[in-house]
Amino acid sequence: MAEVETKRKKSFYKENVPLLMQGNEACALGALAAGCRFFAGYPITPSTEIAEILSRLLPRVGGKFIQMEDEIASIAAIIGASIAGAKAMTSTSGPGYSLMQENLGYAYMAEVPCVIVNVMRGGPSTGLPTKVAQGDVMQSKWGTHGDYFPIVIVPSSVKECFDYTVKAFSLSEEYRIPVTVLSDEVLGHMREIVKLPSQEELNIVTVPKPYEPPEWYKHFEITPDFRSPMASFGEGYRFHLTGLTHDEYGFPTASKTEIVRKLEKLRLKTMRHLDELTDVRVEMMDDAHIMIFAYGSTARAARQAIRMARKRRFKVGLIQPRIIWPFPDQIVREYLERVDLVIVPELNQGQIIREVKRLRYRHVKIIGLNRFDGELITPQQILDKLKEERH
């Protein structure tokens, strides 16, 4: 009996038990819970823990782990695995994410579901490998060349790292699109107490399989909601996949109508479902005159700052988008009408503030609070900024 107990302890996924874990660990466990069975990666600080954990756990559930020769190969391998029918993920940080951009574009074009966890660190270039930043927000939107509409998730706590990795898999499968999870160095290495949900509580979506006979099958069929079923290699549907602009069967085309149809599909499959792709946490905005727009680990400081400010009778609220691309235009615009001051704290020199300014309503004052010295923004800093503006 004792032996059974020790063997049971090896089980890595414990439901509804408080566990102390890192953000990176939560990402790895979230991936496993979502059904990820393939991971290809390349060591890079501060995302390496995800690879280490999955290299240990994946073979236990029948999955595959491979350490590739670089990040380009890592994302190529996960796209290949996804095409062959496995849910696949890679993790990286800034420099690796830059290397991945080419094949990320391939995944958008060929409509391959996969998940990329980018644990952000200071940049540009090698930058600050062990320090936090939020400099990849615009890169995750505009990184690869050409026209495309990505889905990017920004978690802000260890629990959210878990939940939103699961959600990233669901979204990528549902929309057949690569989904980026923008974690950051602090979030990745911070330990918090997390209770993992049971498998039934997770809402896992898997891309539907086609039901038509192979000769009728179109891999890129344009359906009314722009989400098409997907067959995998080896299932009898012998299709062609290419990064060239292609028709519904996947064959390269230069026909004007086909090109427009394809690129419109890429746009509409995310932009038609904006309501489903809006995930914003709104806090204390009912009576607020001041809005703090924060995401990722900065949102944690903002939340504390709001509590401090409310004690001093400032009417402040928080908008925290968890899905940052597509940008939650609707909700932000709605709240911009009600406030007269917006503070956008960011760990960069002003990236997402441009999006908020784009939606500026009348003469709302929008100011940024930027820190890029490798440290977090503190609640006191936000409070000071607020006092300075409301002086």
Partner: protein, 286 residues
């Protein structure tokens, strides 16, 4: 007409694609593609169990015509994609077909690492000594002193020997064929596909449109017949001295060893855990 075009090759061509194919008249890539098809046909594989992966370039246009699970990827990354396909679905026979610029220049890193890893992928390199699709720039295999559109005063870099590179990187099957020796080529390819481990076949081909024009090597036929003159079978080469082999290339099977293959080694780890779990379950039941 349908009965007339009913060669062995046509069984494996996609009916939805329009022919003739995209390559210049007389291009050896078509011959290499025919050899690949006959090799797969001789092995009697189910079409669903074959996956052909390619990168970018003239050669990389092959998969679109083939009625298999085909993947046309980004420049140089074909092997990395193929690694993912093979690992996720080990049932598939994964064949990478690639050109010299694609595989050895931009994809050189993936090539040597896949060979080192000894993953069960068959890699076919159609070597025409030049970048054909972009207009005749020099490639890693362009011989010394030959001309290319970006080497107008002659190539001053040294070139790769792809087969030697594959062998020293750890490929467990290495062969070289030419498009002139088409039936030998399909034999070599089928050997490579049945080999368990990373197998590499270099196919000497002709690019008369770019390489031939810039170096005054004549028409397609002339270039293909040149291969006949300069090819030395592996058995004959063993008896020849280094001086005699100067300027020639050896064809046939060059290297074959057996080493643990990556996917099956990984499967062993998974099986170990499965057994452990089974034991665990039995313990719990008892």
């Amino acid at each position: 007409m349908v009965e007339q075009v009913s060669n062995v090759t046509h069984k494996y061509l996609r009916p939805k694609k329009t022919f003739p194919n995209v390559w210049c008249p007389g291009c050896g890539i078509g011959i290499a593609m025919g050899a690949l098809i006959r090799a797969i046909d001789s092995l009697n594989f189910n079409k669903d169990d074959v996956s052909v992966v390619s990168g970018i370039g003239c050669t990389a246009r092959i998969p679109v015509y083939l009625d298999f699970n085909t993947l046309h990827t980004t420049h140089g990354r074909a092997i990395a994609f193929a690694t993912g396909v093979k690992l996720a679905n080990p049932k598939l026979h994964v064949i990478v077909i690639s050109g010299d610029g694609d595989l050895l220049a931009i994809g050189g890193n993936h090539f040597i690492h896949a060979a080192r890893r000894n993953i069960d992928i068959t890699c076919i390199l159609v070597n025409n000594y030049i970048y054909g699709m972009t207009g005749g720039q020099y490639s890693p295999t362009t011989p010394f002193a030959k001309n290319a559109s970006t080497a107008p005063y002659g190539m001053i870099e040294q070139s790769f020997d792809p087969s030697d590179l594959a062998k020293s990187s750890g490929a467990t099957y290495v062969a070289r064929g030419t498009v002139y020796h088409a039936s030998q080529l399909s034999r070599l390819i089928s050997q490579a596909i049945s080999h368990n481990g990373f197998s590499f076949v270099e196919v000497i081909s002709n690019c008369h449109t770019q390489y031939g024009r810039l170096n005054r090597e004549g028409s397609a036929v002339k270039m293909i017949q040149w291969q006949k003159e300069y090819a030395v079978p592996a058995s004959a080469a063993a008896r020849m001295t280094r001086e005699e082999l100067e300027g020639k290339f050896v064809t046939g099977k060059l290297h074959e060893v057996f080493r643990p293959e990556y996917v099956s080694e990984y499967q062993k780890i998974i099986d170990k855990f499965n057994e452990e779990e089974e034991e665990n379950r039995q313990l719990q039941e008892s």
